[in-house]
């Protein structure tokens, strides 16, 4: 039996990497009732309540009705939550039940391990976001101003929150710790980052505070690429999301390499 034996490179165990990515995807799809359907159902409810029912009382924003304005925000909110939930729960369970040892004793490189977890998060994020987008076609017409930029924001935001999920899974000692970040940081920042409103609707002081919220740039970046509504500097948003994604990914690889909380 002969298998590839390239030892030095960061990425050479292609079959091992493919196996881990597949395992991550099969994992969340096998519990789709917990991982896949809830965000879709809640998004449809948001579309109905805020878009169709309450939305008719909100005046147009930059030429778009409220429901159209809402869709990119809903998609981004669910990408963020899905990517984070995927890596944080998968890695924490693997640590907690020690099944991570099966991966650690294998010839997977640390880069391959982290990339596979992140890809699992990206796939779940994009799948949930994609389905919400498809459902939205029944209600609104989206002009898609810049599709590559839309994919960039969707993918890089998934990377950022997949990596944050990995970091939280590493530092958490109890299952409760995973939801602490969601409840106290991710959800408030996402809601206050402009999912449901434009900064133009806020008093000037609060609008300025919003510019310090990184989620604002992810949401407004996706909204710009889909609708052409510009809030904040798009180049700054692109750079911020790119460097956050790359930085957090490298941090995760480093922590895996030194075995932080996964090897004694």
């Amino acid at each position: 039996m002969t298998h590839k034996r390239n030892n030095s490179s960061y990425f050479s165990n292609y079959i091992g990497f493919y196996t881990l990515v597949k395992k991550e995807i099969v994992r969340f799809m096998s519990v789709a009732a917990q991982t896949f359907y809830p965000p879709i159902i809640s998004s449809v409810l948001y579309m109905f309540i805020f878009g169709l029912a309450i939305g008719s009382f909100v005046k147009n924003i930059d030429g778009f009705n409220y429901l159209t304005f809402l869709i990119p925000g809903l998609i981004m909110m669910n990408i963020i939550n899905s990517a984070y939930a995927n890596t944080s729960s998968s890695l924490f369970i693997a640590r907690f039940l020690k099944s991570i040892e099966d991966m650690l004793v294998s010839p997977l490189s640390y880069m391959e391990m982290v990339l596979a977890y992140v890809l699992g998060g990206i796939v779940r994020g994009l799948l949930v976001g994609g389905v919400i987008l498809i459902i939205s076609f029944f209600f609104v017409k989206i002009p898609f101003v810049n599709i590559p930029l839309m994919l960039f924001f969707a993918i890089f935001t998934s990377i950022i929150f997949s990596c944050i999920g990995i970091l939280i899974a590493l530092v958490s000692e109890k299952f409760d710790h995973l939801s602490i970040l969601t409840t106290f940081i991710i959800n408030p920042l996402t809601y206050l980052g402009g999912v449901f409103y434009s900064t133009k609707m806020l008093p000037p002081m609060l609008a300025k505070v919003t510019y310090f919220n990184p989620m604002f740039y992810m949401i407004s970046g996706l909204r710009y690429s889909m609708l052409g509504i510009q809030e904040g500097n798009i180049w700054f948003a692109t750079g911020l999301v790119f460097f956050m994604g790359v930085g957090l990914f490298l941090l995760c690889v480093y922590l895996f390499k030194i075995g932080y909380k996964i090897r004694q």
């Binding site: 039996m1 298998h3 590839k4 034996r5 390239n6 030892n7 050479s12 165990n13 292609y14 079959i15 091992g16 493919y18 196996t19 881990l20 597949k22 395992k23 099969v26 994992r27 096998s30 519990v31 369970i93 693997a94 039940l97 020690k98 099944s99 040892e101 099966d102 991966m103 650690l104 004793v105 294998s106 010839p107 997977l108 490189s109 030194i258 075995g259 090897r263 004694q264």
Partner: protein
Amino acid sequence: MHAISIKNLTKKYKDKIAVDNLNLEIKKGEFFGLLGPNGAGKTTTIGILTGLINKTEGEITVLGHDLVRDYRIVRRSIGLVPQEFNFDPFLSIYDLLVYQAGFFGIPPKEAKKKAEFLLKDFELWDSRKFTMRQISGGMKRRLLIAKALVHDPEILILDEPTAGVDVELRKKLWQLLRDFNKQGKTIILTTHYLEEAEELCERIGIIDHGKIIEIDTKINLMNKFRQDEILITLSPKCTLSDIEQIKTVLKEKQFTLKQSVITITNIDASKELAAIVEQITAKYIDTITIKQRNLEEIFLRLTNDTQKK
């Protein structure tokens, strides 16, 4: 080339030294036993070898490859049977083996064949759709060994593989390990069952407080620490003056006399029995019983000695 070469290995935790400047060489194809009391450093040493624990200092090569620099090659050569069960709640035991093979770079088709072969070989095929939680303790132990063999490793490391396993299954697993060793594979076994080490291992290292305190072949080890007990039952014809004479003969030895049974302790029966029988003269002797010290007693003596130190 050695299968495993460990030089000056040290593992320090905040307030404890788990492995203390340990040196060990294991030959290719050897069946090696690593014995020691709880907390001696066995599992830590194995954890370092398999990538589960970071070493603090020292050098390790596996089949000539550096443990850290060539970690991919090293991990391909080792199969680990861990002491504790781990669980993946999402996978059946069949999928568990297929994924494990995949991690080691085995293509999906080949991985499925390998998983089927091993599950059948370990009599787990009928339970292939169950998860790890749904199978019995003995089946879990077999599955852990199957999982360690899925990538056909050169070295198999087993950390207490038969803990909590019934006698019948233990014997089956022993046979399996013997067969594996006959194929030229190296086996390293840690165990609490000294009978297991005595039965299987060619060479044994005794570890305590993170150090190897004795290492030799099983036979040499037992000879080196050979301190038999000879029980001589005297003939009813023996008079009191005969007994006094026998006491004089044995004055250099450690012995007790109770109801016409002389118990001589701390003696190498293979070397000294003939001379004793000659001195006492055979006519006074009814029966002779030799009790040989087993590995368990040697182990206890050695580890007690280090505790005293």
